[in-house]
Symmetry: C2
Subunit: 369 residues, 2 copies
């Protein structure tokens, strides 16, 4: 196997940790000797062993002269586990190939230099783009100290998420809905607006895991009997604004619900403050599922790292139907938000179009809010 | 070459007549002897020679024992040209392979029987589905005695055709717009609502040809200086409802504009009556280009044989933006119009999704209007 083939396997291996490594990245490591794989490891969960350490421990043979492949620069600092770099140096490995530098400023480039200082050959950049995309959440977290925001829309081809009667069950197919549910497993939290809670009473579960559920609820209108409060109150995070009912506040808090008070003007949540709070409490990625107003506010505020459109091949029609991306929107077509790096796939009869919004940021300092 | 390969070539050949054969179908004919093509012909324009006749005349060698391939059952009646069947019989051709029966009740199956009666071997059904789709306009015309209706939408991914300011220039790319313009060449007429005339003042030209321009204009609001009136008044057809200004009516008529008076209730055009009139005056296919209300009315009335969505990978957003398919729309997601036989292609950065709407027709006789 050549280096590229091995690195491809490293990425696949890393993905086994998907959804459970946060706030850590997904990492896979393979040790090879003369092009033959002799050991593997991947990072399973924050707090457990790193991929490189596992691969070294798993080898069971001498690593003298071996080559280590890993998708991210190995760590050189003590976290919850010892630094991998030291372990690599003492293992006898003679060459390390990794896809990208670690975006964490405490590590970036340091491990590379340390390895080279100890006579180990280092090669970087192999499948760099793919490796970065795979850990897009981690890169966002490290480079910007912000939560990664992914929007999800499930609409008819003519851009509606509910009919003129506000009926939305169901537009996309069961297959698409299950797919979207499985996507929740990739994120630390799911976020929706209070209208969607009141209208749909969703449970917002994943398939394999139970993410945090974040609700933007300026007036604390959340029904005490809704599924989010009843099922897993300790997984519920509400952003509210000076709620009037102390009693309701206390009931929710006693159940284990976390409530943050942010100053919402005109019932509109200051999204950047919401996201800063989420980042501080360790929510590294959030999956925004609606409704129309909430998704629109994220677009208006130019906050979105990724977007998923599940599109059903059907026409709902009607100028009173609910549009997928509401709120204010662009004034001119030139101000529309372009979506880059599109990927399109068929999910049953539906389409899933995934891409990366590219916001034009005003030169003036007006973009803050 | 085997039969299938030859028939594939027949379909390609037939397509050379695209846009100019109406009200006739596109037809290609190939004559082969021992698997070798010896002659070809296609139908260029109504009134000119049929494909089979041309292929026979073009041959220049004896056709004794030859095999004729054609995508449609040859004609057996005198139209503007003599019946092809007789020409085939007297040519010495011993076998005829065609894709579909002629949907014209005056021909359907008759030619087949006549050929067989004269000892000619006949095989049908080869690439039947493809041949029928290629001539979908002709099949609609013949089987239902109705004009073929194709809708065109050019929207953002979130289903908007204009921003909250009603600005629409431009949402899709130049490449898509040129592609859409070229599509006009395939239809006898382009149709829009009066609001689009007033707002955009379009010319509605094709690339190679100049189709009829049909405007739904209940109150005869069309500006006398708009491009449709100025450029090619004899190509303009207006459907209006008891227009108040006799003077304006006369000015338009004197310019050569055709105006049909239909009884519009509440400013809403009775679309079936409009289409019956178009069929009667020889408009065999119409390309409905908007705007939101007009496209919505076609969907509400369950009138559409085909639909094209040009989708730009951008988000306009906003609940006041103009939705692509407006008017009334479905009350429940179950009433949404499914789109079948989807075909998706990339046009530059945009997508073009083409499909066939499948309307649920009510059991009761309420669907008339």
């Amino acid at each position: 196997m050549n280096d590229l083939e091995i690195m491809n396997n490293v990425l696949k291996l890393a993905k086994k940790g998907e959804g459970s490594t946060s706030p850590n990245p997904m990492v896979g490591a393979i040790i090879a000797k003369n092009g033959k794989i002799i050991s593997r490891g991947f990072h399973k969960k924050a707090g457990l062993a790193h991929a490189e350490a596992k691969a070294i421990d798993n080898a069971g043979v001498s690593l003298e002269g071996a080559k280590l492949f890993v998708n991210l620069e190995p760590c050189c600092v003590w976290g919850r586990t010892p630094p991998c770099v030291d372990k690599i140096i003492s293992s006898g490995i003679k060459e390390v190939v990794f896809s990208t530098l670690d975006p964490n400023p405490e590590v970036k480039g340091k491990s590379l230099r340390k390895l080279r200082k100890h006579g180990i050959k280092v090669k970087t950049g192999l499948l760099g783009k793919e490796a970065k995309r795979m850990n897009e959440v981690f890169f966002k977290n490290m480079e910007e100290r912000k939560t990664f925001v992914s929007l999800k829309v499930a609409q008819s081809i003519d851009g509606k998420i509910a009919t003129r009667n506000n009926k939305s069950k169901w537009i996309t197919s069961l297959k698409s809905r299950r797919y979207a549910k499985r996507m929740r497993d990739k994120y630390d939290a799911v976020l929706i607006g209070i209208n969607t809670v009141v209208k749909d009473n969703p449970a917002l579960c994943g398939i394999r895991k139970n993410p945090y559920k974040v609700v933007l609820d300026p007036s604390l209108r959340i029904p005490l009997k809704c599924k989010l409060v009843s099922n897993h109150p300790h997984k519920l995070i509400i952003f509210s604004s000076m709620p009037r009912s102390k009693q309701k506040l206390n009931i929710l808090k006693n159940k284990g619900v976390r409530i943050f008070n942010v100053n919402a003007k005109k019932q509109i949540m200051p999204l950047r403050r919401v996201l800063n709070t989420l980042y501080k409490i360790g929510v590294m990625s959030v999956y925004v599922e609606g409704g129309s107003f909430t998704l629109g506010k994220f677009i208006d505020a130019k906050i979105a790292d990724k977007i998923h459109f599940f599109i059903a091949p059907k026409i709902i029609g009607g100028d009173k139907a609910i549009t997928s991306i509401g709120a204010r929107g662009a004034a001119y077509p030139d101000n529309a938000v372009k979506i880059k790096d599109l990927h399109i796939e068929k999910i049953g009869n539906d389409f899933l179009i995934t891409g990366y919004p590219e916001f034009k940021h005003a030169k003036r300092k007006k973009q803050g809010k």
